[in-house]
């Protein structure tokens, strides 16, 4: 299955037409796919809290938005999630590469990985962890759930889900 294509298909099917991204190696393919889709306006941001501001504005402008980022960005965006996205009750699917999990080659990534779920839990952010390729089947339901409840929702996608790092 082409995960990048499936993620974009589900975004489009759920009327998501505004996507901001900050790259991660694991997300390179999906970011490229987002960029190529005519139905999606792709705006790279320089920092993830900035991206969440763009998404909040787009949402109030009548467009469903989403952010694609690395889990390290949870450390960057707590204030924005609490005082903007959650305080004003706005939906925000967060497609997150879950670095520092099984099959991770870079040791430093583990340092934020061990805090990721605890922080999301502390923030009462509904969190889904994709470990197997088949977990993508849930994505469409997660998007519907996000726009039903008007909350930020985290989808953590680990290295195993993306098929590992090859020879690295």
């Amino acid at each position: 299955m082409n995960l990048d294509k499936k993620i974009c298909d589900d975004l489009v099917a759920n009327d998501v037409s505004f996507v901001t991204t900050v790259p991660c190696k694991q997300l390179a393919g999906v970011i490229e796919e987002v960029d190529q889709r005519d139905e999606i306006f792709h705006i790279p941001s320089n920092k993830e809290d900035e991206g969440m501001g763009l998404c909040a504005g787009a949402f109030m402008g009548g467009r469903r938005s989403a952010i694609i980022m690395q889990n390290t960005a949870i450390g960057v965006t707590i204030n924005t999630l609490a005082t903007l996205t959650q305080y004003y009750r706005m939906p925000l699917p967060m497609i997150i590469s879950y670095r520092g999990e099984l099959r991770e080659p870079v040791a430093c990534q583990v340092e934020m990985a061990v805090h990721t779920k605890a922080l999301l839990n502390q923030m009462n952010i509904p969190t889904y962890h994709f470990h197997w390729q088949k977990d993508i089947e849930e994505f469409d339901n997660i998007l519907k759930y996000t726009f039903m409840c008007n909350k930020p929702v985290a989808i953590l996608t680990d290295a195993n889900f993306w098929g590992g790092y090859g020879d690295q």
Partner: protein, 184 residues
């Protein structure tokens, strides 16, 4: 002029447009001077007024004005390249540059010292950057709204604050009536 005097002066110019207003005293002042459903008041999240306004401008066609502060732009400097590289004609960024973190007691910012936000915005690729003195802002802002080119206005003014109450309106109410105004 101080920020509250500037807001009083431009209130008639912006009252019929979508406005995203910076956290703290700027929002409290605008709320007191001319509360409108077309105003989105930030109650937190220092730095994101420009980003929220820009996302809104990209998502729909009506003119949008972000009222921002020098300190807040400095904390989210990454916003300027994003705005420059995705320019949209219905967007105006008004930076009220009083050279201080006004809401927290007028501690000086670097914008009031060696750093020129006008030069920073230009270096980031913004094409229409206008630096203006407080008393001259009105016509410049009106022209920016009327023009179909995106404009960044850096309005130099004095630091100083007036005493006024906090905004007690619920954030969801602020959002709801703003979204209705956007859609109407």
């Amino acid at each position: 002029m101080i920020r509250s005097e500037i807001l009083k002066e431009i209130a008639p110019i912006i009252r019929d447009h979508l406005v995203v207003c910076n956290i703290g005293l700027p929002s409290q002042e605008l709320h007191m001077i001319d509360d409108q459903p077309t105003n989105f008041y930030m109650l937190g999240t220092m730095g994101l007024s420009s980003s929220i306004g820009f996302g809104l401008a990209l998502a729909q066609d009506k003119p949008v004005i972000s009222i921002d502060g020098d300190g807040s732009v400095l904390t989210n400097l990454g916003t300027l390249p994003t705005i420059a590289n995705n320019a949209t004609g219905n967007y105006t960024l008004l930076i009220i540059d009083n050279g201080s973190y006004g809401s927290t007691g007028d501690q000086p910012t670097y914008a009031g010292r060696k750093t020129s936000l006008t030069a920073v915005a230009t270096a980031c690729g913004c094409e229409n950057v206008v630096e203006v003195q407080d008393k001259d802002l009105g016509p410049v802002l009106q022209a920016a709204i009327d023009s179909d080119q995106m404009t960044i206005i850096v309005c130099k003014c004095d630091s100083g604050n007036i005493k006024l109450p906090v905004i007690t309106m619920d954030p969801v109410v602020i959002k709801h009536r703003f979204m209705q105004a956007v859609a109407s």
